[in-house]
Symmetry: none
Subunit: 200 residues, 4 copies
DNA sequence: CATGAATGAGATTTCATTCAT
DNA sequence: AATGAATGAAATCTCATTCAT
């Protein structure tokens, strides 16, 4: 029953390289086809690694998904980016925050889709997604609160803002137009507060 | 007391009964476990029908999903409900629309989750979901437009409103609180327009 | 992802035939190679049935083993056989019981080996094996007790007798010689009680 | 106080320590789970040694099993122990031999189970098991032969005695009671030969 | 029309073994 | 000598689908 198996003659990549390629492949396949519809075999093929390596590194397919959203969620990147906003004016601030949010989500679209798509059905993913959402909301709300608004109002507006951006980005599958964004900001901040769009 | 002419309501043909039970079972299983993670065998068991019947009626599992979202999407119900709003005041109108929307989604939660969850990965579902969203947005926008607003503004507000309600209902998994709703409406309509909540 | 699968054009065997063939194949393979060393694929091949049928009928490999020892253990056959002994003389009685035991075990050798071999490691098999042993011991003891012996003595002798026969049959892998058997009986019943072997 | 010349007992070469630990772990895992159901990785973990060391020392898993039963079978220990019997009286002698046998098997239970369990399926193990059994039988028979018995009778009794003890110890999973043992001896030596149990 | 036994490709996971270091 | 990351064949089990009845 024992067959000859084992390490191949050629030296393999320096270990972390292979792991990274698996995560890359899983990321784009999970985003495109969904977790359930992606065979681990396909991930291995796309990554150019042997089948067994997935399980050597991640134990299970579920473990791979968890590692993916744990290591590649853009929480800290988003936090850093959103905290970079400097504008004093609420409307300009929201505009800037939206740009930064879109930039991050654009760069990390695959993970964003995975967070959205697999959060139903995978509690660990749901947790990450919630964490990401609530962090963003907290930062946006903190900005708004600093600019003539109660905390409660600020949080509601921040939440509506983020939810709208997320739906537009992921479910609508459409890049939010600048126009839509400007009007959204105007609406959320009260019609009188006209947004100065000359900076575009 | 008068005899009911024609086909009596109580005696739907048995085949339609089985078909309905399959759709019922599929609905709750797809909503809970997701399409991919639901075996057709399990659907048949839960429905109390033989395995083969699923394929007799729907040809494929995918066909069952399509029939489900085609026949059970709540588009017309939502349309009817939303068009029932009478309020003149924008804030009260939005409040009323939100209540009606929540009522429909609450009653049809399973389908709502399926539309959200499976729209990625199943173009036919995506189509239904989009249709549902855009219809609701159009109705809400039409209402707002009738009450001192440009079409463009109205559409943006309607979209933000619906997206926020949807995210709150399906992704947050939390029933939107009345408080949140009131503040959301206040924010979207401009802070000055206080919403009279005495009607509660 | 959906491929065309399903029932083949040719009519399959009348169902119980296939199930029986699976049990037959499992029986001889488990006896020969051991449970762990027998691939289910090999069982299906030897039985001439498709792979999936094993799991359709028995759910798991373990389930197949359990069905095997449940349906094919020779408890009732052994009981019937052993109870058929008529001899008055203890020595002749034991001789007859041994012949009958050997006949049953010979006919059902594969199951006997499986019971012995897999009883360590599979509690459900252990249970069947114990049941079989204790039943045989009880019958033999009852016979001895009826012929000038206390119950306690009878049970001890019966147990030693059966254990010796079992070890000889299964572990020694040697057919117990008549000679050995005669001397064993003589020893167990006390040397004075010479066994009349003229009936051979 | 005198310095111990030569290799001090406490300083076995480190490699022998690792080798011993692998055998220890394999012994208890094979006994508990069975050879096939024990992963080599688990053995290495339990032994606290790197995976590769198993194959460095034993070439294959099968080689490990063979080394185990070759180096750790209790043949010589059993031989020494059984030959230590001094009693003149057959019954007391058998009693003593049984005690000694039980002592050895008790101390080396894991190996005993492995010999029993894996002798089907591994000829090399079967050989060791047979050797062990036949050696014990030969010693017991020699003792009996020295005390008023033909060689042939002695061998049969010795075999029945050992088989019964083995079955009781390993398959029944029950410690043989003193009572059972006394009655067994009485039965095997003929009812008249009462066993003097006052030595207990 | 309706059924459910049967299929077999394919999914995930395990594991003895190798070999560059 | 010793290590442990890497391999990939093979194992068990699932499941959408078919079709004889």
């Amino acid at each position: 029953m024992a067959k000859t198996r084992g390490r191949p003659l050629a030296a393999a990549e320096p270990s972390q390289e292979a792991r990274r390629r698996i995560l890359d492949a899983a990321q784009s396949l999970f985003a495109e086809l969904g977790y359930d519809a992606t065979p681990t075999k396909r991930i291995a093929e796309d990554a150019g690694v042997p089948q067994g390596l997935l399980f050597y590194y991640f134990r299970t397919k579920e473990g791979l998904l968890e590692a993916l959203v744990a290591e590649r969620n853009f929480l800290s990147e988003l936090e850093r980016e959103l905290k970079g906003t400097k504008h004093q004016d609420p409307a300009q601030g929201l505009w800037d925050l939206a740009q930064r949010f879109r930039a991050v989500v654009g760069r990390r679209e695959a993970i964003a889709r995975i967070l959205m798509r697999e959060s139903l059905g995978h509690p660990s993913v749901a947790e990450r997604f919630t964490e990401m959402r609530e962090t963003a909301i907290a930062i946006i709300a903190a900005f708004l609160e600093a600019h003539a608004m109660t905390r409660s109002q600020a949080t509601v507006i921040a939440r509506a803002f983020l939810y709208t951006l997320l739906m537009a980005a992921i479910v609508d599958n459409a890049t939010t137009s600048d126009d839509f964004l400007l009007q959204l900001i105007a609406a959320l901040l009260g019609n009188e507060t006209k947004c100065d769009t000359n900076h575009l």
